[in-house]
Symmetry: C2
Subunit: 249 residues, 2 copies
Amino acid sequence: MTQQITQPIIILVNPQMGENIGATARAMLNCGLTNLRLVNPRDGWPSERADAMSAGALEVMPPVQVFASLEDAIADCHTIYATTARARDLVKPVMTARSAGVAMHQDITEGQKIAILFGAERSGLTNDEVMMAHKLITIPLNPDFSSLNLGQSVLLVSYEWSQGTFNAPEIAVPLGKSNPAPAELFNGFFDRLDNELQTGGFYRVAEMKDIISRNIRSLFSRAHPTDQEINTLHGIITTLLNSHDRKDG
Amino acid sequence: MTQQITQPIIILVNPQMGENIGATARAMLNCGLTNLRLVNPRDGWPSERADAMSAGALEVMPPVQVFASLEDAIADCHTIYATTARARDLVKPVMTARSAGVAMHQDITEGQKIAILFGAERSGLTNDEVMMAHKLITIPLNPDFSSLNLGQSVLLVSYEWSQGTFNAPEIAVPLGKSNPAPAELFNGFFDRLDNELQTGGFYRVAEMKDIISRNIRSLFSRAHPTDQEINTLHGIITTLLNSHDRKDG
């Protein structure tokens, strides 16, 4: 019985430097991926350099699996993705990293075990290796300067997968212990400010008063102050009024 | 007159190692960004180590600008984004890297000059530095292992910007010099195959013939063969038929 794996398996094919395997592990774990397979690592396995570069990732991930051939490494996988920087003379679907990230979640929902292949540092995947894949992934980058190192490629592809996993609000304003001021509190502040400005002769041209007043209100409204900040704003008005008294007094 | 800049300016605040400045430059240029500013680089500027790590990026980018203070570095910028890994006790909008990438395109469409701040390697931005920004960017990652090095942070934030620049189809199937086969060609192939299977006794149960034939047709249709591949498939049928003749003959 094959164990159900709920995330893509990263497969490095003929990786050369242990440092890059370590950087791969770190990038994977940043993105919540923990299944790493190696095909014929040039400098052997395990690797002290990989451990050092992984920033602790290899210690908490399941043991890396090493295979003698790509065929063996993908034997239990249903859908194989291959990352490739350059166009291949192959009639295979080419996806952006972003759309592949979405597609892989769909594959896994269907119960598939999936793998993502990354080639050797300098040469990438050979055509024979790419042939093993069902779908190709390319990362759209500056066409005049698109070369990424192995760890960065793994980071971007893993990141695109992870954005379907680590949901965060697109934009949020953390308020700590305070709360957004209710309208009553905001209006109390603004009415006070408006009255003091009126009393102090700020609105020189009567016809313009409404427009200028509305613009000032809009400025403070845009900041959407918390209840604590409304208190602070009251304090500012009081301080300025008192300073004025002192100067004139 | 300020020159119109159509991309975000990356500002490294108190960066320490030249290697990380070089990795930043490489990641930036991968994503089409070329404006880099440094505030108080610890090991000085220029840096041979930065040049080596930039993989040629620093040679083709405009000269890096060095400033003595963050205030000076952002003086001409309208909207400031700050990257931060941890929550701050500040009431400021916090955006994902993805939504910030979209927002920055909008800012620039409005004619704004924008900057993205990255802090020192170990400590990140101080609270006083974060205060200078209008919006904060966090990258949603594995909460148990979210630490990125400087170059990787710059890569992911720049990448999110770049995905609004380097448009690529979500999925495409490159066909090289061949073309998708027109239906007439596909049907000619399939009808031939179907007839040969019928003649050869493949459809043993007459009632099942239509279903099985439809499933086989569906398999080949799913592959959506090119005109050249239809020729190849005809060749396969011919070869198999002739081999059968030889064996039996």
